[in-house]
Symmetry: C2
Subunit: 342 residues, 2 copies
């Protein structure tokens, strides 16, 4: 019998409660037959849900009680100090002790980053963990973008490392050989931007292992100009969220068009449903997990308003990163870069 890989699910995070986690788990047990899941959270709440889903006593499901829950409004520092027995923290500790290979949570992003950093620590040589997500490109391709909010302020060394880690992730998870790494900036010329991006560009240019393709502007984020797009967490977070805001505005605009025209209503509604599906796919952090990389273990953040389909997608991502042992690949690559810099 093959050894099972274990993943820890924070069942209490997210806006939609534990039931979406249990639904996603049901699907994951069928899809991934060599994965064992530890479901972490309030057993009083979880036992009936697991029973209802006929998963109580399932050979590949373990329920682990945690007496506290991090709420969506808890400050990160508070969650760390006041909630040592939260489902989120307990799930992360299972990764820290080696009992699980990955933690998946739809909980409070700030709290997850803080608890993960505290519990798992960064890999040797890694300055800061980064939040990375796959963003859609033309022709249904994907690129990775980081940092999406873990680090609102970054120096050039940190941005450079994000490029290194992102390249490893693009290669291992997206299967892209020699991924093109680009820096997000306000222009393509070398003289553009602030001092930090200019200094980071120099580091990329000097590095023999990075396939650096230069600066890209905002309108090229979705134009398949790069496989890894590097920026600080301030720019990354605002950029991605504003795109989601625009997608919502456009969808509402289409809805308004529907209401205007009685005759075309039925027809357009069909089309609208197709679009809505496509656009859900286009909202990356809602419909795919974001990974917190650079840590000694796999941590996947599913969106706060994730449904079962989105949480399942986050589990899929955890499986992919675990199978490729992404933390070990990142550690090796960062080590190589540090040796080259000596």
């Amino acid at each position: 019998m093959a050894t099972l890989t274990t993943l820890a699910l924070d069942a209490m995070g997210g806006d939609n409660g534990p039931s979406i986690v249990i639904d996603a788990l049901t699907q994951a047990l069928t899809t991934f037959t060599e994965i064992h899941f530890i479901v972490v959270g309030d057993e009083i709440e979880l036992q009936p849900l697991l029973r209802q889903a006929q998963l109580l006593g399932h050979p590949r499901v373990t329920l682990k009680h945690a007496s506290q829950t991090v709420t969506m409004t808890d400050k990160p520092g508070y969650s760390l100090r006041a909630k040592p027995d939260s489902s989120m923290r307990v799930a992360l500790e299972l990764v820290a002790t080696g009992e699980a290979k990955a933690c998946i949570s739809a909980g409070n992003t700030g709290a997850l980053m803080t608890n993960a950093y505290f519990t798992l620590k960064t890999l040797p040589g890694v300055l800061r963990p980064a939040l990375v997500s796959a963003i859609p490109q033309q022709h249904e391709k994907f690129s990775l973008m980081l940092d999406l909010g873990a680090n609102p302020v970054c120096d050039s060394e940190t941005l450079f490392q994000f490029g290194v880690m992102g390249a490893v992730a693009a290669q291992e998870v997206l299967g892209i050989q020699q991924p093109r790494v680009a820096l997000l900036n306000v222009g393509e010329e070398e003289t553009k931007g602030n001092d930090v991006v200019k200094a980071t560009a120099v580091l990329f240019q000097q590095s023999p292992i990075i396939n650096y393709v230069g600066f890209i502007e905002g309108d090229d984020i979705f134009a398949n100009q790069a496989d890894v797009i590097v920026c600080d967490g301030f720019v990354g977070n605002i950029t991605l969220k504003s795109c989601e805001g625009l997608a919502d505005l456009l969808l509402n605009n289409i809805k308004d068009n529907i209401h205007e025209h009685l005759l075309t209503r039925w027809f357009v509604k069909l089309f609208y449903r197709r679009l809505q599906r496509s656009w859900n796919w286009l909202k990356p952090d809602h419909y795919n997990g974001a990974s917190l990389i650079g840590l000694r273990g796999v941590v996947i953040k599913s969106h706060g308003d994730a449904n079962a389909r989105a949480f399942f997608s986050a589990i899929e991502q955890a499986v992919a990163e675990t199978q490729r042992d992404l933390p070990a690949r990142i550690r090796d690559c960062v080590e190589q870069v540090l040796l080259e810099q000596e």
Copy 2:
């Protein structure tokens, strides 16, 4: 007879050449009967175009020769040093000398900002000019966002002034009383973001004349949460351009949907055309002018790939700002703020 207001048009800027400027001028002469236009550029090229449009000798059209043209790839510093007789610079000088009230150009953005700053100077007390544009909100409303790229690095005093200038513009140009001013950030809590946005928030909170509504996140840019959205030019430029990139991706995605389904093709094409029109409206800097505010004169930047409709829209904006004497209103308000701070 009422005194005519004079506007200067840089006829040589933009990717589409002077003909779109002449087309826009034709429309503007009909719409604005009390405006006199000085068309600045190469007379050898412009005379035939004006003749063809039956505008040569028009009582409200003056042709002013300029022997040089700033190209879209000229570096800003180079355009300033090497092209003192460019159509852009001559048009700006007409504003500086008081011969014209506003300059409208579809030329190279960086060059326009540099030449405008050099030629017109900032208003008394204004630290930096800012590029501002109206961005669409739900229910066809608009908000102003600034800075969109004139200043990639800003301190808190500068961002605070952007809020002051943006509020004046929202009141004068959009007609919004007590405009809600918000700061773009990675979270709504006071502890979020970098030191500059935190310090700017304090300045807004202390100011009696600003209706400050706090931080907003990227997904609220289009959600009618604020009338004036303040950020540095690095974040503003990348955010707006990435939204444009997303709109293009979505439009392509719809095109792909059309090709997939033969039966629905005809019908969806009609709808697609409607969408394309709406979305053009949703690409603010393509289809409305961006204003460079904080200077001693009105400067409107039309998009590089502006068509006649877009250039006309930039002229409309110049008329609105000129009629309200926006520079004087900004000067008064900045003066008041400086007095309060003493």
